[in-house]
């Protein structure tokens, strides 16, 4: 299987020392979350301190890549040019297994099949290469 190419037209996240491990993990098709060494809080997006207790001792953990849709939208209009051909884009609030809440795209041939509470999983590594941030599909 050939890997899909990243799309240079998409806005890219700025890589910083704080988020570099998450972005590197995604290049391998994995979701990296941060877990606080002191209070155990697991969270996304990447931060340099725990938002719960402000401790800077954080450990990167690899998510099992699965979660559940909490809510979502199929976005038809008002998309930046780089995304317009892909409308509708599905943006969802996802609760991942490890407990963190995140917003992410769900790639699905039939956007009408998306429903709240459905299980999702990360795209496979070859599919992942196109997208700048962790992206899901229906499980």
């Amino acid at each position: 299987m050939t890997a899909t190419q990243s799309n240079p037209a998409y806005p890219q996240p700025r890589e910083t020392p704080t988020n570099a491990p998450m972005l590197a993990a995604w290049r391998e098709g994995m979701l990296a979350l941060q877990e606080c060494d002191v209070c155990g809080h697991v969270f996304f997006y990447p931060r340099s301190v725990c938002p719960n207790c402000w401790d800077p001792s954080l450990t990167w953990i690899t998510s099992d890549g699965r979660g559940r849709i909490v809510s979502f939208s199929r976005i038809h209009r008002g998309l930046p040019e780089a995304f317009a051909d892909e409308a509708p884009i599905v943006l969802a609030e996802i609760a991942v297994t490890e407990g963190a809440l995140m917003l992410a795209r769900i790639i699905c041939d039939d956007a009408e099949a998306i429903q709240s509470a459905l299980p999702v999983r990360l795209l496979s590594k070859p599919e992942a290469a196109r997208y700048p941030l962790p992206t899901f599909t229906l499980d």
């Binding site: 998409y10 806005p11 890219q12 996240p13 700025r14 988020n19 969270f43 997006y45 938002p51 719960n52 909490v70 809510s71 979502f72 939208s73 199929r74 976005i75 038809h76 209009r77 008002g78 998309l79 930046p80 780089a82 995304f83 892909e86 509708p88 884009i89 943006l91 969802a92 609030e93 809440l101 995140m102 917003l103 992410a104 795209r105 709240s116 997208y131 700048p132 941030l133 992206t135």
Partner: protein, 383 residues
């Protein structure tokens, strides 16, 4: 009581335009001139300035004073987005009450159009730029669509129920020359409008535009009794609830009881509500959080009420942002200006019969998923 003797003594709006024909300062100055004229106060008497704007930086309150030729003893810039203008007016009232300034101009506005706004949204703050824009997130529409669907699925809130907010506000806007969107709108028009980000349709989403709003805070006795508007209570809350991405509450419920207690009034005493209306779902959540109905009960509440200026629950009596347009930070002040108009009896063809007490609320500064800032104030007509 926030202040017995000091309050809102002037108000003004600039023209609203779909495309900017001038700078943000031009719109702010036009609104400010109108506010001073409505109070009979001269520019040379102004010694306080509170600007609420997300597009002003890297300029700030001092550089704004330089640009506008003001010498100040108190100055502030609020960055709490659409909640900022109400917070500005609360802070300004306290500044006058404590003697730090005598006449404070509170200004909010923006010079923008749809293209400018869509581009700015991608860089609205670090979390949006790095973790939402790369997804093609559809801007604020995508985020508030997620919140809207969650409310509908959890509480059974219907599109037609939420749609009454947009439809009734449009009826109000038809009596407001400032409104950019004044065509008649029926429920059928609303329900059949193009889908933007489901479940949101065209008429759920504000139109970014150019314009500005202003209020003048000062000693009440400077103006005639019928023009005096007292600030009975005010409050703000940020980042409530902590750690949620798409919450169904926004922070008003935390201070609601204190707010009404400070005013010695309850929700039932309000003759009108001017709520921040970037999306109908946020108006709905504000009304729930502020205690006008129970959490999750907004659907039946909207169905049982008429939200027109002469209806059973007057809401956004000038049409607010959904019909006038969102003039950047001015979206947070258009509500307060309309409240002052009603309380002074100067709202023209849409003037309510008995406007003695009103509630104004603000909301904004969208981060990773939702607006982080909430504010509200209770106002009273002195006569």
């Amino acid at each position: 009581m926030l202040s017995c003797d000091n309050g809102l003594i002037g108000y003004g709006s600039s023209v609203y335009e779909k495309r900017a024909t001038r700078t943000e300062y031009s719109y702010l100055a036009e609104a400010a001139r109108a506010a001073l004229a409505s109070a009979g106060v001269d520019k040379s008497e102004v010694d306080g300035l509170a600007i609420s704007s997300t597009t002003l930086p890297p300029d700030n309150a001092a550089t704004a004073a330089e640009y506008l030729g003001l010498e100040l003893s108190w100055a502030s810039v609020s960055t709490a987005g659409g909640a900022g203008a109400v917070i500005s007016a609360i802070n300004a009232t306290q500044a006058v009450e404590s003697g730090k300034a005598r006449y404070v101009l509170c200004l909010a506005g923006g010079a923008q159009d749809m293209a400018f706004f869509q581009d700015r949204m991608l860089r609205f703050n670090a979390a949006i730029a790095d973790y939402l824009a790369p997804h093609g997130f559809g801007g604020m529409n995508g985020l508030f669509a997620i919140i809207t669907r969650k409310h509908m699925e959890r509480y059974g809130t219907g599109r037609e129920q939420l749609g009454r907010i947009a439809v009734h506000q449009r009826a109000n806007a038809r009596l407001n020359e400032q409104a950019l969107l004044r065509d008649p709108m029926t429920m059928e028009d609303y329900l059949n409008a193009p889908v933007i980000a489901d479940p949101l349709v065209l008429f759920d989403c504000v139109l970014p535009c150019s314009g500005a709003e202003a209020v003048l805070v000062g000693p009440l006795d400077r103006v005639a009794k019928e023009k005096q508007v007292r600030v009975q209570a005010g409050a703000e809350r940020h980042n409530h609830p902590v750690g949620e991405v798409a919450p169904l509450s926004g922070g008003w419920e935390v201070f609601r009881d204190d707010l009404f207690n400070e005013a010695a009034l309850g929700p039932g005493d309000m003759d009108f509500v001017q709520a921040y209306d970037d999306y109908p779902i946020m108006v709905a959540i504000q009304l729930e959080d502020l205690g006008f109905c129970e959490k999750g009960g907004i659907g039946p509440f909207l169905e049982a009420n008429t939200m027109t200026w002469d209806g059973s629950f007057p809401l956004n009596t000038g049409g607010a942002q959904l019909s006038c347009g969102q003039s950047g930070g001015g979206g947070g002040l258009i509500t307060l200006v309309e409240a002052v108009r009603q309380l002074r009896g100067e709202a023209g063809p849409r003037q309510m019969k008995n406007a003695n007490h009103g509630l104004v609320s603000g909301y904004g500064m969208v981060g990773y998923g939702h607006g982080l800032s909430a504010s509200a104030m209770i106002l009273e007509s002195v006569t």
